[in-house]
Assembly symmetry: C2
Homo-oligomer: 239 residues x 2
Amino acid sequence: MSDPGDPFSVDEKRGVYRAIYERRDVRGQFLRRPLPPPVLGRILGAAHHAPSVGFMQPWDFILIEDAALRGAVHANFAAANRRAAAIYSGPQREIYAGLKLEGILDAPVNLCVTCDRERARGHRLGRQTDPATVLYSAACAVQNLWLAARAESVGVGWVSILDLEALKALLGIPPGHTVIAYLCLGFVAEFRAKPDLEEHGWERRQDLASLLHFDGWGRRDAARVAALFPRSAEAGTPE
Amino acid sequence: MSDPGDPFSVDEKRGVYRAIYERRDVRGQFLRRPLPPPVLGRILGAAHHAPSVGFMQPWDFILIEDAALRGAVHANFAAANRRAAAIYSGPQREIYAGLKLEGILDAPVNLCVTCDRERARGHRLGRQTDPATVLYSAACAVQNLWLAARAESVGVGWVSILDLEALKALLGIPPGHTVIAYLCLGFVAEFRAKPDLEEHGWERRQDLASLLHFDGWGRRDAARVAALFPRSAEAGTPE
């Protein structure tokens, strides 16, 4: 075990930034090869060590491998996606139709992350002023899981185009629990260099500098921005 | 630059798990030493490379260093915390009173992360079925930031005991934007081995196995749990 007092080595630090910058929302590159259970266990352990308001740990994890169940989730997605596609027209409709937005049947494991909004644990510490912090804690668990998966060369795709009430019924999720994420996990043929949605021309990455405010909303400071990102033309690119 | 096709080296992988397991919600250990702007820039870059629904990137970042502004935020916290403390009684009240829950004035940098729920970017892809995914995206940005900070030996504390409407007014945050997190950042005297709330007896970590379900809510499977966590008595501990 490492000592929390030791600074990260150059390689350890690079690992963290690699996971962050090389993480992808994987849909089309899943291999059917099963995930070794200990790898999946480490990824779940990472999720469980996310921060949570009041140390509440409001999450649950439902692993889904059963083929019939995944077929039903896929049918749920297909119906929701037909409704979602209907708002687009023209070239946007064409791009949308060409996007692969899930790997429910392709990935060997699906994982539903839920949040128990009323869990007694934590004794309400920190969440009286903002009950949504409970949901944010569960979202942080998803991000931990995603980065640990990347370090294990496991791809993760987040499927948000689902009728969540129907999904809750299908999986037997009790009232009071919120579905935070429905994830597909598996080894991948490749991690693409760019996000799918960027590659397909759906959206571009914003300039980070345009999202920075100094000591108050809308207060910009070009000199401070230049000091924050000294080595890169594109703000936020790691050395 | 690394190639996304290369598996993570042992050290790179350890870096990711160290960041996840050694991350702390820091309140009492901040040093006043300023953060070098390029370090802060890398941490912000990590946040900006979080996943987001439809590649929407709904976040903004307000850096707060001004002493008067931080004083006003601290007063906001103090009032909110007096109200929050009032629900506890007996020994719990004593523990609560002894907890340090923020480092607003101690940390050299405060950072407010907001979420623009109606941002046009992403063209609503993926969020028609669940508008909360926009908020989850911003929470994932906070977690990326937290882990990058840990790799840089920078502590982060999330202050959720704040009157958020008053905070929005103070920072001039426009309507339609939600405060996701108010964070304190700085170098630290130490990263504690355990979460503060565990150390002070406020709450204990749950057993991960009790939060796992297989192919449906409430379906437990001891054999699969054993396969997931083969090497550790405590589920989820990395090798």
